[in-house]
Amino acid sequence: MTDYEAVIGLETHIQLNTVTKVFCSCKADSWFDPPHTNICPVCCGLPGVLPVLNKAVVEKGVLLARAMNAEIRPLSFFDRKNYFYPDLPKGYQISQFDQSLARGGYLDLPIPAAASPDKQAYTRHVTIWKLHIEEDAGKTKVSNQRRLIDFNRCGVPLVEMVTGPDLRTADEAAQYLIRLRQLLRWLGISEADMEKAHLRCDANVSIRVRGETKLNPKTEIKNVNSIDAVREAIAREIERQIREVEAGRHIEAWTLEWDEDSGTLKKMRSKETEADYRYFREPDLLPIRLDEGWQRQILADFPELPLERRARFVEQYNLPEYDADILTSERKLSDYYENTVKSYGGDPKKVSNWLMNDVLRMINDQGLNPQEMQLTPDALAEILKLVDAGTININTGKALLQKVQESGKKPGAIVAEEGLGLVSDDSTIREVCQAVLAESPNEVAAYRAGKVTLIGWFVGGVMKKMRGKADASLARQILEDLLNEKNG
């Protein structure tokens, strides 16, 4: 059988998480609002209104452009994209056509072994063809042969970002979206929730015989609203195209719609005429002037990006890739980790273990924001130090996590207050040991008769009586002394 490879390009629409819409002062997010309650004359395209650009949209767009290694244009323009649709109140969308915010760009996408055909991790260089600002349209739903329109979403700021045909497998496409989502949240420019359509993806898919460089006719897959569905839909489409070609048929440039419920691709109605959007410069807006001063201001706090930080964690803290990946999954978490490491001063891997096993569970179970936790990096570091110093044991340390989180008190203070410190006073432990032995004559006899493994059971008894605060090794020592003493 011929060896085929897929050629995939992704068109993403990213809803920016600004407070307000791109050209009016309505709030951007109206997910929970009843229809037509978050509107104004501007976003409804009333006669005579004019758009006024939201500064934050440009700023967030610039952050993304920079993160994608794109060149930011000092002067960029808005254009009108003209077409009739009932959810587009002006009859044109304000977008950017030939002189958009940014130009070029790429992402070096790490493909983990698990997503690689030959189980070897590798990197895919994905180029960015288009990155521009535009406004969203409203929402349409069909009921009883009528269309119901809601303008709440009109004017929500979007960045459209289009990759070159650089992806080669459905898994690569999924990885791209995973990394993009991570990046958007990292930069704080989008909630990037695909289910809420903050991040939308259309995929262009074609196949060719491996080794060829030409591009064959492609199909476009629309209406996919999760990363898994994108992977699934692309995989299906690649299979279908191979089947078609193998059967000697041609691939036609169809638009396909992913049906989530049945997990199948359906052909969409063809457009009545191939659209001619008659783009022209939007005369109601002046060009965006990103002079050096403004650019510098926007990029002043530009963060280390997740993939960079991931590499650094491996390098600097000797973390396994697995740990580094999880700890850089989210910016606040990775800041938390790093602050703890600094405050602690000990083995970074130990911090990673505590964070990934226990703290992360707390965060996930209780929906906490790492930045706002009462269990601060300093507090976590203090607990680690208390354990290291033998002041408390590991179990007490882990129990302290929740106590600190709930009370906001310092770990040391809680240890003192609740007497959680390990009792290493010989006489106190000796008394308890004596009591335990006195209460268990049968076991003492058995021990003395040679069943020395019972020592663990006696230690357990002491610990139980002392609610875990006894220095276990000391207790064992005393118990052994007492048991052997009587014997001798």
Partner: protein, 531 residues
Amino acid sequence: MEICDLNALELARLVRSRQTSAVEVVKSCLERVAQVDGRPGSLEQMPLSDEDKKRVHAFITLTGENALQQAEKVDQMLAAGEDPGVLAGVPFTVKDIFCVQDTLTTAASKILANFTAPYTATPVQRMQDAGAILLGKVNLDEFTYGSSNESSAYQPSPRNPWNTDRVPGGSSGGSAASVAAGEAPLSLGTDTAGSIRQPAAFCGVVGVKPTYGRVSRYGLIAFASSLDCPGPVARDVKDAAAMLGVIAGSDERDATAARLAVPDYLEGIEEGVKGLRIGLSPDYFRITYPDPVSGELLSQPLPEEVARAVTEAAEKLSAMGADIVEGVPMPNTRFGIPAYFVISRVEAASNLHRYDGVKYGLRSEAPTADLKEMYKITRNQGFGPQPKLRILMGMYVSAAQYSEQYYRRALQVRTLIRQDFEAIFDPAGAYRLDALLTPTTPTTAFKMASLYGDSVLMQYADQLTVPANHAGVPGISLPAGLDNEGLPIGIQLLGADYAEKTLFRAARAYEMTTQEEDWRKQKPEVLRGRS
């Protein structure tokens, strides 16, 4: 002379000094409307009566009661010692292309017949904030598309107060007619290719097209967004200057409104023209237009009366100390109309996309289960022939395969036209002009129905005004006599960016020096026989 015949600044002075009341002023204007305006424009098709043919028909919507209430408020404020603003109690009309809250806003089109604006356009708001009183919305060419006002869906369309068989010009025909007939001393119009200056010239009043971006477009229903300028129509230069001072300035709702302080246009307005360099260009003394049959370009000099009005004006300005510079080349003037045919249509077609029967205005009653069908029927019923023409031409010249050939080229030609102006106003250039003096229109007011229907010749009526729109520079048209049929002749002064103040000064000088001329004592036909 009645109260309503006084100019705006005089009215404001009388009202503010409480020598008369705002209510009295409004009543006087409403009385004048009742006497001369006839029935307002309406969508109902009724044949014109002989009576109709003698009336002005400036209005679509008269807001008399509201005006009286506003006037009372102004009077109350004054009684309480408060200042209602520089235009206290001054009535004004608004071209029905501006949105005014809770008022019908029609754009003279059936497609917006039932549209009530939920907000007020910035320049209208600024007039009201200055104490001026809105008298009503006046007629225009449908969506401003025309130069005669005849294309309004609201008939009867306005008629020229100087001769009601003539057009008032357009598209701000209702504005110019209402001011000329004494219905209001001021009107807010718009100028995209000459739509303030041309009707002002035809009706013998003053019309100002400010620099593009000098006045906010927020609330102005767009025609060609890169050319549209709101501006004043007034009976004299000082009123126009005062009104521009009120409506000009930056606006947080219009990104293209220039961030530039508004000067006091009245300050120094009577300082005269001594030392001003005023140019005359031969390129403004002939018109070029295509033969209606062959399409061949014809060129002919302006009618002598029109040309003479300009040269005489130049002589008078010269006599007052201006340096008249002759032979100023404006070689790209004749390309104004062809470039305008392209640019304005592309923008207009896009601006008219929103009228689709979905969210406001007309939706066809014809039952249909097909969205596209609904669009088509609605737009066919709602738009008259002029919007349809502009939409279709816009579609044609902006379609991908033609946009380079037409649209891009037209924008380059706009640059050439702009360069003509830059060269003559350049303070370090060969001409160093303060203003260019030209005729406003190739002819005086033409007869009703004489051009309507020929979209090409109608457009060429704007040949001498449209270059300023392409270039963005300001212009003012002012009355400069009557032709042998007793129709007003307009002359135009064009200036550099934001140089309105200079234009007002020159215009006022001309006005003062001609104050006692006979033609100034003539009244429009509809006012003759009145004391």
